[in-house]
C-alpha cells in the first residue's frame, strides 16, 4: 500500500448509526399514556396492501410471539390472536430520520441519511473533542438512550465498512487500518455488502456465505458472474472495493436550511386595514434585511395572519424574479389583502419566504434611479400575475410539432426558452391563430381543387388569390389511426382579406365522408 493511501485511510473516519427499531421506538415516543399500554403485550405496526394489512414493524413481545416484518397480519393472528396493531407511518419515519441526521451533527461536521433506518456521520479528526473514539461511541449511546431510541454503532474508515459493522458486527466496533478491516469483516455475512436481495441469494447458492470467502474465489471469477457495473448494489466486487476504500463512495450530506421568516406579535389585535398595511410594511422591511443578510431574494412569499378566534388566513405570492424590494412586496400584498376578514382582530402576522434564490447585493445607482421612472419588467409581471393570475401572463414559445396549434406553447414569461429548431422560411404562417378552427362552408372543385368561395360567420367571401396546398399529415405517433391530414391554403378574398384555411382530409382516404373545411388563422 502506498503511503498516500495509508494516509487517506487513516484520515477518514465514518460513524455509522443504525436504529434497528426506529418505527417502534418512534411510535412509543409519540404515543400517549393510554395507547402506550399496548406496548406491554405483542404489538405490530401495519401498512395496508392490496392483499390485506402487512406487518411493517414488530416490538419485542411481538417478535417473541412469532410475528416478523413482511408477514401478513392474518398469519400473525393465527400464531398469536391477542396481537395489537397500530398504523405505521413511513413518511413520518423518514422525516424523523432527517431531523435526527441534523441533530447527529453534534458528533461531526456533516451527516448523511442512510434510509430507511440509519445515519452516517463524518467524525474525522473530531474524536479528541470527546476524549477518544470509545468515549465518542459511549456518548452516542447515551444520547440516543435519553431519547429512548435503540442504536447500534460502529466507526470505520469507509462508510461501507462502518455500515457492515453496525448492522452485522459487534456493537460499538472501532476499526482502523486496511488489514484490520479485512480481518474484522471476513466473518460477516455477505448481506453486510448492502446488496440487493437477489444478488445475495445468488451468492448464497454459490456457497459464499462470509465476506472472507469471496476473497478466496478470485476477482476474475466473480467479475464474470456479476457484470452489472452500473448499480453498485448488484455487484459484490464494487461493494467490496467500496468497503475497503479502494473505490470512492459518494454520499449526500444533509444540509439544514432555515427558511427566512419574520413575524410580529401585536399587543392589541388589529381590525383596520390601515394598521394592517403598516404592519405588513414593517414585516416587508424586516424580510428585506433578513434576505439581504443571506444574499438572497424571495421567489415565493407566504403571509400568515393569525386571528384572535383561532383562524389563520394565508396569502401566498409568487414572484417572477428574485426580489427583496420592500415597497414592491408591500404593493403586491396590498392587492391580496382586500378580501381578508379580520373578525375580532389579528394578533400575529408572519411572513415567510418559502422559496428564495441567490440575489447578489447591488449598489444603488443614484443617477439612474433619479432619471428612469417606472418599474422593471419583473416587477410589472409580478403585479400582473397577482391581479390576473399566473395563467393569464404567458409567453409563446415554439414546440417541436408539425400541427400548427401544437407548434406553439405558452410558458411563464421570464422562464428561459428551450432551444428549438428554426422555422422554415417557405412556411408562411398567419399572424393570429384562432383558439379552435372554425368550420366554414366552401365551394371547391372536388376532390382537391382550390377553394372558390366560402362562408364564414355568416358572410360570403369570394376567393381572389390562393396559394397552396401545404399538406400537414397527422402525427401518427401520438394520434389515433382515424386522424385525417390537413391541406392548408393561404387565400385572399376580393376585398383583400387574407386567411389561412384548411381542408380536413381528402375524398377517398377511407377515414370518413366528404372532407370539412376550417378557417384556422387570420393573416396580416
Amino acid at each position: 500500500m502506498s503511503p498516500q493511501e495509508a494516509g487517506s485511510s487513516r484520515s477518514r473516519r465514518i460513524l455509522s448509526i443504525w436504529l434497528p427499531a426506529l418505527a417502534i421506538d418512534r411510535w412509543r415516543v409519540m404515543a400517549d399514556e393510554h395507547s402506550r399500554v399496548l406496548d406491554r403485550g405483542p404489538l405490530v405496526l401495519i401498512a395496508d396492501t392490496a392483499h390485506g394489512p402487512r406487518i411493517e414493524a414488530v416490538n419485542r413481545a411481538g417478535a417473541a410471539a412469532g410475528a416478523h416484518k413482511g408477514m401478513m397480519l392474518a398469519d400473525a393472528r393465527t400464531l398469536c390472536p391477542e396481537i395489537a396493531t397500530a398504523p405505521s407511518d413511513p413518511a413520518g419515519d423518514l422525516g424523523f430520520l432527517e431531523t435526527l441526521a441534523i441533530w447527529a451533527q453534534r458528533w461531526g461536521p456533516w451527516s448523511a441519511l442512510d434510509p430507511p433506518d440509519g445515519l452516517l456521520v463524518d467524525v474525522t479528526a473530531v474524536a479528541h473533542l470527546f476524549g477518544g473514539e470509545n468515549r465518542l461511541l459511549a456518548d452516542v449511546q447515551q444520547a440516543f438512550a435519553q431519547r429512548q431510541l435503540a442504536v447500534r454503532t460502529a466507526i470505520a474508515p469507509t462508510a461501507g465498512a462502518a455500515w457492515a459493522l453496525a448492522h452485522h458486527g459487534r456493537d460499538g466496533a472501532i476499526v482502523e487500518g486496511a488489514e484490520a478491516i479485512e480481518r474484522a469483516l471476513s466473518d460477516l455475512p455477505v448481506a453486510a455488502l448492502r446488496l440487493d436481495q437477489d444478488v445475495v441469494t445468488v451468492l448464497r447458492r454459490l456457497g459464499l456465505k462470509r465476506l472472507g470467502e469471496i476473497a478466496t474465489l478470485g476477482r476474475d471469477a466473480i467479475q464474470r458472474r456479476f457484470r452489472n457495473r452500473k448499480s453498485p448494489a448488484a455487484n459484490p466486487l464494487v461493494r467490496l472495493d467500496q468497503l475497503l476504500g479502494r473505490v470512492p463512495e459518494p454520499l449526500l450530506p444533509v444540509v439544514p436550511q432555515q427558511v427566512p421568516l419574520v413575524q410580529r406579535r401585536l399587543l392589541e389585535p388589529i381590525r383596520h386595514r390601515q394598521l394592517l398595511d403598516t404592519v405588513v410594511t414593517d414585516l416587508a422591511g424586516d424580510m428585506a434585511r433578513e434576505l439581504e443578510g443571506r444574499g438572497q431574494g424571495a421567489r415565493r412569499l407566504e403571509l400568515g395572519l393569525w386571528r384572535v378566534d383561532g383562524e389563520v388566513v394565508v396569502r401566498r405570492l409568487e414572484l417572477a424574479a428574485a426580489t427583496r424590494d420592500p415597497a414592491h412586496i408591500v404593493r403586491l400584498f396590498a392587492a391580496r389583502l382586500d378580501d381578508v376578514d379580520a373578525g375580532f382582530g389579528i394578533e400575529m402576522l408572519r411572513l415567510r419566504a418559502s422559496w428564495a434564490e441567490p440575489l447578489a447585493l447591488a449598489q444603488d445607482d443614484i443617477e439612474t434611479a433619479a432619471e428612469t421612472h417606472g418599474t422593471s419588467l419583473a416587477a410589472c409581471i409580478d403585479r400582473l400575475t397577482v391581479r390576473l393570475g399566473a395563467q393569464a401572463v404567458t409567453r409563446p414559445v415554439p414546440f417541436a410539432s408539425h400541427i400548427p396549434e401544437r407548434a406553439q406553447r405558452w410558458q411563464p414569461p421570464l422562464e428561459p426558452e428551450a432551444s428549438s429548431q428554426g422555422q422554415l422560411a417557405f412556411h408562411a404562417r398567419p399572424l393570429k391563430l384562432l383558439d379552435s378552427p372554425e368550420s366554414i362552408a366552401v365551394l371547391y372543385a372536388t376532390p382537391d381543387g382550390y377553394p372558390q368561395r366560402f362562408r364564414w360567420r355568416g358572410q360570403v367571401h369570394e376567393v381572389a388569390r390562393v396559394e397552396g396546398p401545404e399538406r400537414i399529415a397527422p402525427e401518427w405517433w401520438r394520434e389515433r389511426g382515424g386522424a385525417r391530414l390537413r391541406d392548408y391554403y393561404r387565400i385572399e378574398d376580393e376585398a383583400g382579406r387574407r386567411y389561412w384555411i384548411y381542408r380536413l382530409g381528402i375524398i377517398g382516404d377511407g377515414r370518413g365522408g366528404p372532407p370539412d373545411w376550417y378557417l384556422h388563422g387570420l393573416c396580416a
Partner: protein, 260 residues
Amino acid sequence: MSQPDPVSLPFTAFTDVAALSARRSTRWRPGLAAHQGLALHNEVFASTRESAGCAAALALALDDARCLPREAGDEAQDRRSVLWVQTREAARRVGRPYRAGLPQTLQGRVIHVLAEKAEDALFALEEGLRCRDLAFVLGEIAGNPKALDFTASRRLTLASERHGVPLFLVRLDAARDLSSARMRWEVALAPSPAPHWNQRAPGTPRWRAELFRARAHAPGEWVLGEEQGGLMARKPDEETGEAAANWAAGLRLRHPLRRA
C-alpha cells in the same frame, strides 16, 4: 371685430405662429418619429373579420422604433419585450398571436396577457406603460366596454407620456367614441400586390388606413405596406388603379386554375 395690427405684435409671436403652423401642416408620413418622437397613444379601429388592426399597429410601432434616432448607449438591436394584452372576448373573435407568423424582429419578445374583463385589460395596459423595460404595449379590446371611457383613455395617455412607452390600442368592432388618443386610425385590409414569382398567391400585406383624428396631423387616407424593411404609404387613388389591375389579373388567372 378689428384685426390686430401685425406691427404691434412682438416678433416672437410670428416665429411661434410660423413654427406652429409649419408643425400643424405636416401631414403624417412614415418615419415621422425621427423628427417628432414616438407617437405615444394610438388607437386603431378595425373589424373582427380580419387581423388588419393588429398587423397595422405592429407595422406602425415597428416603423416608429426603427426611425427613432438611436442614442450612443443603446444596443444595436432592440431586445426589449412587447406586452400584448387581449380581453378574452377579443381573443375569441380574432385569435391569439401566433409566434411563427409574427414579424421576424418580434418573435421571442412577446409577452401575452389574457384579461377576463375590459377593466383587467386596462389595468394590464397601464402597468405595461409604467414599465421601463418594454418597447411598446399593444392592446386589443372588443366593442365599446363601459370601463373604456374618456377618463380611462386619458389615464392611458398620461401614463404613456410620463414614461415614454408607446401604446397601440386596437379597437375591434368599436364605434368611434370619445378618446384622448393622440392618433386615431381606421384600418382595413387592402388587396395585396401580386408576388413576383407566383401571380396567383396572396402578396405582401397592404392595409387601407384612415387617420381620422390626430393632434398634430391633418386627417388623411393612405395605403400602408412594408417594403424594403420599412413602412411605405401611398395615396389611395394611385393604389386603386394598381389594385384594379391586380384584381383583373387575379380574375383572369382564376379560370385556368379550375382543375377537373
